[in-house]
Subunit: 320 residues, 2 copies
Amino acid sequence: MDPRMGSGEFDLIARYFAPLAGPGALGLGDDAAILTPPPGQQLVFTADAMIAGVHFLGDDPAPDVAAKLLAVNLSDLAAMGARGVGYLMTAAWPRDLDESWIAAFADGLGEMQAGHGIALLGGDTVATDGPLCLSLTAIGELPMNSALRRNGARLGDGIFVSGQIGGAGVGLRILRDGLAGGAELDRQAAIDNYRRPQPRLALGQSLRGLASSCIDVSDGLMADLGHVAAQSSVRMEVELERVPLSPLADLIGGAVGAVTAGDDYELAFTARPEDENRLLAAAAGVAVTRIGTVVTGQGAVALDGSGRPITLPRSGYRHF
Amino acid sequence: MDPRMGSGEFDLIARYFAPLAGPGALGLGDDAAILTPPPGQQLVFTADAMIAGVHFLGDDPAPDVAAKLLAVNLSDLAAMGARGVGYLMTAAWPRDLDESWIAAFADGLGEMQAGHGIALLGGDTVATDGPLCLSLTAIGELPMNSALRRNGARLGDGIFVSGQIGGAGVGLRILRDGLAGGAELDRQAAIDNYRRPQPRLALGQSLRGLASSCIDVSDGLMADLGHVAAQSSVRMEVELERVPLSPLADLIGGAVGAVTAGDDYELAFTARPEDENRLLAAAAGVAVTRIGTVVTGQGAVALDGSGRPITLPRSGYRHF
């Protein structure tokens, strides 16, 4: 037998993944999928990998792992102002992984697909002796030359963030370290923030033409604003007291902990202060908070209540 | 420190991968890459994963691993008749992997890119406690509605294959099992077949409008023709004596071993017998051999010299 895949792998694809395939996928029966963007549209692409025990916890429910894998990629599309079209996925399954886990994982993909109007376009499934290793390439679409970029922040722009910050960081600490404290409902919400982030696709699209730069909060709010500062050659000053915090942020050190924790998948963006009302209207129900200002200089800095820079612990990873 | 990535990861991307980025990659500085296919062109997509110890050997040279990762994906584009445009890659590096390995891997990508006129568009790099896990999504382009599909084989069509079959299978057995025999030059060629397959992109493009169906030989010639048979609802009869074999095929059981070994990345396709001369001219220097005929029925069968079906050992994996 071929060492690369168990004999049941043909069946796995037919049973669990073929039903997720979109029209361009050609039923997963060909060498490649085909896509034609409508006239005037551009395609955008992003890819992220997730490893069991690193990007999600080994005992996270399979549908949540699937939802997060899609969400982190869709969040990158959201940050560009794109809508989702489809995705390709490769999965290296541990040899002892139960088929019921794969079935539940496919269910999670299916549910998430339906919610975002996207479909599976292709991929590959292999066996590994290591931990579960997932990789997803998401494809989105947007009108020509309308992409939100990281390099457009202008001096005097306001800095804004959607939703609340720090929830995913709290959720991770609860799940991984048994962090105590807080009301049960808030604890559950924080766990959901970590396991099932909600990509801000509608918000991202509504920001086209309004935001001068945009990024999704994956590495941590301050680290991500640092990427925008670097690409835009400006300094991002964040007033820490203005950052909208998850109800349980105090459990991880308050605002300092929240803005250096990752995985929130909110959008952080810049826009002209005079556009704030248009922007709030465009956000259509998503909470958007102004947290700072773009100034001359470099880097992203957090200011305390007296306007003094605070030294933050360094946080670390990024996609490319 | 973030558990997901070593502190040097930013540097790794800047040092080794940013130089590989194409225009659409936005310098790897944004959330996603942007692509606009020219008018009248469609985009095609394929993704494959490779795991150390499964799809390549742990001591394969890094540039060869990079070249093979790109080649297996470009081969899928070739089978559709597409030209390559770019790719996204995710890599989960073992924590103890030496940086010099990553440098050599990036060199291998760069050399392969240059040879095929493609560029890196994006991706992700993470750390893992498991084996090296690589995933690549390749993007190609072709004129609207000209894709070579698996479902177009017609009764009476000839079955053709490019190059020679079995070389990669011999190379794998030499490297993995210490298989003895054969002249040194032939042994080295077989190892190259396994480590550095040559995707048949020019041939695939020249087959548009001539071939009725096409697939690349990854699972093994007979298994791959079986996929075409299934998609086209026909029977593929291969005369085993006609299959062009690698010089050392006898070391792995001759034609039977060669047509059930994988990883050759030649193209197998069908075309009208009367188009054979046009086809040989279009192949422009790539050897193309007629090996059989499309008939009524199902499955792919190998016939012996007397036209009797031979029972072959089953081979196993496929992409989706």
